[in-house]
């Protein structure tokens, strides 16, 4: 009996630890940002002036407007690419379907700033593709500015729409489509009036992800946007400005960023309210053969889209082997760029791996435990924990970075400038993914098996370790690999938190691109891409359902 009590306490400790971590690394920093958004930079008194400035001055208002424009346009682009791809691959025999999915997943996990940088080397003012096109008489608008940002966002975030929608399309009750057919609906009108509304919850979830991540992204607008101001770059510039930063204004911008995200989350939640079309009576759609006449155009479209989204990765790896001098690519190939990064910035590579592994270990251990209490010990407290854990989804990395700096730059907790603060930032940002994935794995494992072990005389903590944990293991490992992928590609919080000694690969790439060191950037990006690709390959090996792991 006594044993049972102490075992129950283990989960109590987990809950306390979870609230502690969220409180210290998330709530408190965000609260400080919130507070600082009401504090005047010079006098230090409470004021609404920051908000009046941001909302009143045209300079700042443009940033809000621009952020929403590229966010919404990126979302629309993701929908336009993702929905047809999802429909064709889930309903018809497409040759190389798993290749298409894999390419989309790779596009999803590779960092967006690499995409931005790759498109510049292709279509920037000095880009090779631009030269080729100009030589054949095609001139295209400049890639810099909103169009470039939207292009990168669309090609980067469409896999969310694609994977979620494909999942929904293949679990729809196909009798509904048959019924529409039977009632005289033409195929196109059937898709618009029946199929699309049925998968709307999945489509809108994908769209929301695309929007929120577009809004939060720092690297893309910063690299390809040139003078196009968005909120994330504005917050960064306000904080790090040469003429003395303005933390108050930067905080206000952060709060506005979070508010916009919240509005869209709320909007989407409202749209899908009462739209749970799950039913126990389900006839799964069959995968049909395409009619001869449609086969070639459909295959062409699918491959065109995924290859377009993979082009940045291919180009970056290709570039890494080219000889360079600053921003100019020279004829000939070699390993110069790799030699240079190993000579000049070995600490960036080392740091990236160390920080990522450290944060992933923390994420996996705590994420699995919190996932367990949320899934298996439902109470008011764990329900609250469940909703708290979702906060990092809508907090841009830049904002979290600012919060941590504001909070931990003075005694007794001086963390600024240490590797720990970067690790903690990555940790708290990735925690929700791990919690959610372990909770969803647990929902698929029947509680009966653990109860059976207890019934046969195993103490509960041992039952968890011996029965449930091994069953969770494949999912946990897949989750860990995914956390590693996102950790090693993290830019937006690290860019705020790094100091000379704690520079990471994404930060180094970003700085190299700005400095016009395209060779260094390409070689570092290639290392990131290869690492990411290997991790994704590992995930594909151990997990059955692709969509659930990646989205």
């Amino acid at each position: 009996m006594k044993l049972l009590y102490s075992v129950n306490n283990i989960w109590t400790y987990v809950i306390i630890l979870a609230f502690g971590v969220i409180g210290l690394l998330l709530i408190f920093p965000l609260f400080n940002i919130f507070l600082s958004s009401f504090i005047d930079n010079e006098s230090g008194v409470l004021t609404f002036q920051n908000y009046i400035d941001i909302l009143g001055r045209r300079y700042y208002r443009t940033a809000i407007y621009n952020s929403v424009v590229v966010g919404v346009a990126g979302m629309i682009g993701a929908l336009v690419i993702g929905i047809p791809l999802a429909y064709f691959t889930s309903r018809f025999h497409i040759i190389g379907k798993s290749l298409i999915t894999t390419l989309a997943i790779l596009a999803l996990v590779s960092p967006p700033f690499i995409g931005a940088y790759a498109w510049i080397t292709m279509l920037g003012s000095n880009g090779w593709l631009r030269h080729i096109l100009e030589n054949v008489g095609i001139s295209i608008p400049t890639i810099y500015g909103p169009l470039g940002i939207i292009l990168v966002f669309s090609l980067k975030f469409y896999p969310f729409v694609f994977l979620l929608t494909a999942g929904a399309l293949s679990t729809i009750n196909v009798s509904l489509e048959d019924a529409a057919d039977n009632l005289g609906c033409s195929p196109f009108s059937k898709f618009i009036r029946v199929t699309l509304p049925l998968v709307f919850p999945a489509v809108s979830a994908g769209a929301l992800l695309a929007f929120v991540l577009s809004l939060a992204d720092f690297g893309t607008p910063s690299i390809i946007g040139r003078n196009y101001r968005v909120l994330s770059t504005l917050a960064y510039n306000l904080y790090t400005s040469e003429m003395g930063g303005n933390p108050g204004l930067a905080s206000t911008v952060s709060i506005i960023l979070i508010c916009i995200s919240l509005i869209f989350v709320y909007f989407q939640r409202n749209l899908i309210k009462k739209k749970d079309y799950g039913s126990s009576l389900i006839r799964r759609p069959e995968v049909k053969k395409l009619k001869q006449a449609y086969s070639i155009p459909v295959h062409f479209l699918c491959y065109f889209l995924v290859i377009l989204s993979s082009i940045p990765s291919i180009v970056v790896i290709f570039n890494s082997f080219r000889n360079t001098s600053g921003p100019v690519f020279k004829p000939g190939f070699g390993l110069d760029s790799y030699r240079r990064i190993i000579g000049d910035v070995p600490e960036a590579i080392l740091n990236s791996f160390l920080f990522s592994i450290a944060s992933v270990l923390m994420v996996v251990v705590l994420g699995t435990l919190i996932g367990y209490v949320i899934a298996r010990k439902p109470s008011v407290l764990t329900g609250f924990l469940d909703s708290m854990i979702m906060i990092p989804y809508i907090v841009p990395g830049i904002v979290l970075g600012l919060g941590l700096i504001v909070t931990y730059n003075s005694k007794p907790f001086v963390l600024v400038g240490t590797p720990l603060i970067i690790i903690l930032a990555i940790f708290i940002r990735r925690l929700p993914y791990s919690v959610r994935s372990s909770a969803s794995i647990l929902k698929q494992i029947r509680t009966g098996v653990e109860e059976a072990a207890i019934n046969l005389g195993t103490i509960p903590s041992k039952a968890f370790l011996k029965i449930t944990l091994p069953l969770m293991m494949p999912g946990v490992i897949a989750g860990a690999l995914m956390a590693f992928v996102t950790a090693i590609n993290e830019l937006s919080s690290s860019i705020i938190l790094y100091v000379g000694g704690t520079v990471t690969m994404p930060v180094r790439i970003y700085l190299s691109v700005l400095d016009g060191e395209f060779g260094t950037a390409a070689a570092l990006s290639s290392i990131l891409l290869i690492t990411t690709g290997l991790a994704v390959y590992g995930v594909l090996l151990i997990s059955e359902s692709k969509e659930n792991v990646f989205v």
Binding site: D178, A179, A180, N182, L183, C185, L198, S279, I282
Partner: protein, 364 residues
């Protein structure tokens, strides 16, 4: 009101013959049931008529004109689905009006016809409800209204009651029967439930392994099955094998106390083993001794098991080693004191016996 002809319909799934040369004439205005076990091809046939997949060969005609090349959405059939297939994102009214909107019927008329259809299925006033607020039975009524409101040439019903509980099933099948009689819409109804088929149909087509076994009225199908399969699938039946050597030598059917000769039953000497069958409800049980006569077959056996279900009881009688008969007693009162192990007399009229050729399954 339309007639449907199915001519030499063949449909294969790889090696499996889902439909093997099906020929059927469905009369205008009748309720025609396709009955058979799962995998017999009945649903495949219905979905072929609806146009969801195309037959490999053969022709389907509605009112004499071929519809083989029409896609599903232009066949003008109304289908009721096993899983209801009610659009969850549309209100009841929009569900019912869905087909009319495809035909560009003016909104005012749609409204009236939807109201009328809902009245027919006894769901008046529920236009604005969402499907998830309805019970399964109500959803299927919406499904029926939605199929009927377009005034289809043929109404196709694919096991419409199989997802409902027993009580609702009976209630709704009576309603379907009544509505169909009133509207006289030619209806093809698929079910695996023989009782449902017998109650609801004008004619029943019994299918087995992609082939038509028998097409007849419910009464004929039950009382006069043409095939062993029909006799075994519709209702229950006692079968006793009568080996070839035995009946050729005029030996008695290998039951201890039956002295049934092959006289009176015309048996083709080319036939192999014969299977004799008698329905459980044709046999009577009594403890009184009975005289043998030429009309009836009399024997005795030991009660092995009694299953009492209220309005009726089933007695399992052991006649001899490994030969058992099931007897259905509809008013079991007088036998209530019988116990397992007691000996009892069985009697049934000779003409209740049916004979089937074991090899071909045909009646002989």
């Amino acid at each position: 009101m339309s007639s449907v002809q199915l001519i030499n319909i063949v449909k294969n799934y790889g090696q499996v013959k889902a439909l093997n040369d099906v020929n059927l004439d469905i009369n205008s205005g009748e309720l025609f049931t396709l009955l058979g076990p799962s995998g017999c091809g009945k649903t495949t046939l219905l979905r072929t008529i609806a146009g969801f997949h195309k037959q490999d060969s053969g022709t389907i005609k509605i009112d004499g004109s071929e519809i083989d090349d029409l896609p599903a959405y232009r066949r003008d059939t109304g289908m009721v689905f096993q899983d209801y297939a009610i659009f969850p994102h549309l209100s009841v009214g929009d569900n019912v009006g869905f087909g009319l909107r495809n035909k560009n019927v003016p909104p005012k008329e749609i409204k009236d016809r939807v109201a009328e259809a809902l009245e027919t299925v006894r769901l008046s006033g529920l236009e604005n409800r969402l499907p998830n607020e309805l019970s399964g039975g109500q959803q299927q009524r919406v499904g029926l209204a939605r199929a009927l409101v377009i005034q289809p040439k043929v109404l196709l019903m694919d096991e419409p009651l199989s997802n409902l509980d027993a009580k609702l099933r009976i209630e709704l099948r009576e309603d379907i029967r009544e509505i169909q009689k009133k509207l006289k819409t030619t209806t093809i109804y698929v079910t695996h439930d023989q009782e449902e088929a017998l109650v609801i149909s004008d004619r029943i087509c019994i299918m087995n392994s992609g082939e038509v076994s028998q097409v007849d009225t419910p009464w004929t199908v039950y009382k006069n099955p043409e095939k062993y399969f029909v006799a075994s699938f519709v209702g229950s039946m006692n079968f006793v094998k009568w080996p070839r050597q035995s009946w050729l030598k005029n030996n008695p059917l290998s039951l201890k106390e039956i002295s049934l000769s092959s006289k009176g039953v015309v048996l083709d000497p080319n036939k192999e083993n014969i299977i004799a069958g008698v329905r459980p409800e044709d046999i009577s049980l009594t403890s009184e001794p009975i005289d043998k006569d030429h009309q009836n077959i009399v024997m005795s056996g030991i009660i092995e098991k009694i299953s009492f279900s209220g309005r009726e009881a089933f007695f399992h009688i052991l006649l001899e080693e490994e030969v058992r008969l099931l007897v259905n007693v509809s008013r079991p009162d007088e036998l209530s004191l019988k116990e397992i192990g007691e000996t009892i007399n069985l009697v049934f009229p000779k003409n209740a016996l049916m004979f089937f050729d074991e090899k071909s399954g045909s009646r002989c």
